[in-house]
Amino acid sequence: MTGRLQGRPAIVTGAGSGIGRATALRFVAEGADVLAADRNAEGAAETARLAGNGPGRCVAVGADVAEDSVPADLVARCIAEFGSPRILVNNAGIGGARSVDATEDADLDRFIDVNIRSLFRCAREGIRAMRAGGEGGSVVNIASVFGIMGFPGSSIYSASKAAVIGLTQNMAADYGPFGIRVNAIAPGLIRTGMTKGRFDANDAFFLDGMIGQTPLGRAAEPSEVAAGIAFLCSDDASFITGHTLAIDGGWSTTKYRPFPASDPG
């Protein structure tokens, strides 16, 4: 498997933990040179330490993508360290939304800022660099199954992730002619910092609604999402663009219920 991304400069946001860290490590293992950005500088540094065995390189950056100057800074840093980016994974995002009537303006603005505005701005800078680089590229935006189907109490989070899916489709149409592919991932329930509270609290409503309705019957590890991202960024997916790939054990396919024991199955 090594070498699929050999020598390709990559930027991964939110790379200090969870899906972003797993993606950075997977990329490095496949030969990519990764700029691992996270607002938690220690987390990013730990990712770079874990990636120490290569074969790709990994440089940690402590930076918050929601700050206006950061997207352009990340691209400039990538160019300085490794060359023009050919891969961009817009993974940074926040969770923990509430129902519409319980959402204050400050929370609303925060979700829009981090999950949409900053992702759009990172994508814009990445696309400009990829077009200038002239070698094409691959952008993967991390959406969510909640951007495909509703789930109680996830209002602005769901809406922000649906926006990510829409943006992905539009960017695919705009930049396909330049050899730049743009896809999204819709993770189901993954064991990350974002969901840790739900597991730790043994949140029965959430866990029944997610694991209980997941045909494969379990939550996934971040590495399983990273495998899908690596596929979409590799030449194995050279004709795939504009797609949102669910990595959800089947959750978004249906309102799943296991067969009762009395039924065939």
């Binding site: 592919r181 189901g188 495998a227 004709f239 795939i240 504009g242 990595i247 054990g249 089947g250 249906t254």
Partner: protein, 249 residues
């Protein structure tokens, strides 16, 4: 993305997508039953692969031949882990009002009933191995149709629904079921469909695809390899377009 030691059945393996899927599976260490209604084509592809492949002639729209394919594969290789329902039937553009009912039946038999047969009779073999993976080849025409292709598109929409529903039935048996949606691709099926055309229809299709080209068998085979592999072990019930962005906008 190895498939070392796995046994795969690939329908329509004698050409186009199926030939490339068969070869890539074999290159990753799988044993492959190359199934085709045209025996000569199946033998040619199996011959190119060598000892890791057998050629089987079958009309996969019929239960009897499908059961024979499964039995022959088990006899040759000891079991079945992977089924790729790739064989399909298309036809030159024709409006519904001008189409023969017989062609409708043949399209649904080849494109939908074949998946039913291979699921019904193949799953017990996958169960014996403790699980497995199925990939059904549908088409972007199911979600973004073109005129003159109504019955084909409808059969492929059925294939997507079959994939998602059967994924739910089989998930707890550790059998994953996914589907690929290719856009128009450079295969014998496409050249056969447009044999009477001066090339302008194919050129128009190409112009409408954001990545600016038609699909190639290697594009589709790469997507199939991913969905069949352990890399996709949390992915079931999805419809993955391999279409250069055709369905995105």
């Amino acid at each position: 993305m190895g498939h070392q030691g796995k046994v795969a059945i690939v329908t329509g393996g004698g050409g186009g997508f199926g030939a490339e899927i068969s070869k890539q599976l074999a290159a990753r260490g799988a044993k492959v039953a190359v199934v085709d209604i045209a025996a000569e084509n199946a033998r040619r592809v199996a011959g190119e692969i060598g000892g890791a492949a057998i050629a089987l002639e079958a009309d996969i729209g019929k239960a009897g031949p499908v059961r024979e394919v499964i039995a022959a594969t088990v006899k040759a290789f000891g079991g079945v882990d992977i089924i790729v329902n790739n064989a399909g039937l298309s036809y030159p553009p024709v409006k519904v009002v001008d189409m023969d009912e017989d062609l409708y039946d043949r399209v649904f038999e080849a494109n939908v009933k074949s998946i039913f047969h291979f699921t019904k009779y193949g799953v017990p073999e996958l169960d014996k191995r403790g699980g497995g993976a199925i990939v059904n080849i549908a088409s972007t025409s199911a979600v973004k149709p073109r005129a003159g292709n109504t019955v084909y598109a409808t059969s492929k929409a059925a294939a997507i629904a079959f994939t998602k529903s059967s994924a739910l039935e089989l998930a707890r048996q550790k059998i994953r079921v996914n589907t690929i949606l290719p856009v128009a691709s450079m295969t014998p099926m496409l050249t056969g469909m447009f044999a009477a055309d001066d090339g302008s229809r194919i050129a128009a299709m190409e112009a409408g695809i954001p990545l600016g080209r038609l699909g190639q068998p290697k594009d589709i085979a790469a997507g199939v390899m991913f969905l069949l592999s352990d890399e996709a072990e949390f992915i079931t019930g999805v419809a993955l377009p391999v279409d250069g962005g055709w369905t995105a906008g």
